[in-house]
Subunit: 156 residues, 2 copies
């Protein structure tokens, strides 16, 4: 999940260009947040990122984290996701294969998977509707193996 050094560099280039294009500035806080974010893994809420950031610099405010995550999302370096709990969750969009999610509705476990065949079919569908797809999400909700077992044991 974590991004490699080479990928981090690619990332830096993309970000620099994005920021240069619109006159944005690189600050201590932004760099810190971005570095840490790309070093973490999982589907991270702002809260998750903030608490990590505060370990390194307790004076960074949540507002800045919100603003930075939005920046990453808009620049395409992170994807914003909504899994149904009330929070927006982010994950790195660079240096990873695209993937989708299997979500257990009982224990909340999230399994990632990828499937090129499905991706191709999605593109085909979109094309048929005259759409130019830039990104997508696919989430399958259900019961994971262990929760199924548990429920059977409980005779539900």
């Amino acid at each position: 999940m974590t991004v490699t050094a080479a990928q981090r560099e690619e990332l830096g280039r993309i970000l620099d260009r994005y920021m240069a294009e619109r006159g944005l500035k690189s600050t201590r806080q932004r760099s810190l947040i971005i570095d840490l974010f790309f070093g973490m893994h999982g589907h991270l809420s702002v809260e998750d990122v903030w608490s990590r950031v505060r370990q390194d610099d307790p004076r960074v405010s949540v507002a800045t984290v919100y603003r930075t995550m939005k920046l990453l999302s808009e620049s395409g370096l992170a994807h914003a996701r909504n899994f149904g709990d009330g929070q927006t969750r982010y994950e790195p969009a660079v240096g990873r294969e695209h993937h989708d999610h299997l979500i257990c509705t009982r224990c909340g476990a999230i399994i990632e998977f990828e499937n090129d065949q499905i991706e191709r079919m999605q593109d085909a569908v979109a094309r048929r509707h005259g759409f130019k797809v830039t990104s997508h999400k696919m989430e399958l909700y259900g019961l994971c193996k262990s929760c199924q077992k548990l429920l059977v044991e409980q005779g539900v």
Copy 2:
């Protein structure tokens, strides 16, 4: 989008059973909300449903609408969706083919589509991971035909 009379009946049966199973009661408010909801179409926020409900009975509170939509969602009669604006949106889950969404990131247009082949592949993937899928969402984000044209004309 609207549900037919026959489908409404099926729906009633499912709901009755769901409520009977857990000792829930059928009330004037609930019936009204449910009836109206299944008569509407689109991807409805609680606000949308509430304002429709108030036309028939101005004394129903938002809280009740929230509670009822959650009930429908948990009983499987409605699907909760999150398209990235800050609200949960609901749509009837019964009496409709399952479908997915193409969403234009510029104008917000939502096109629905269905594709059995993709569905089958999703099931296959889930099975491979030991998952028992109960529902899923798939959203493709991009530019719709007219927005593409618009942007070309503007030379973007």
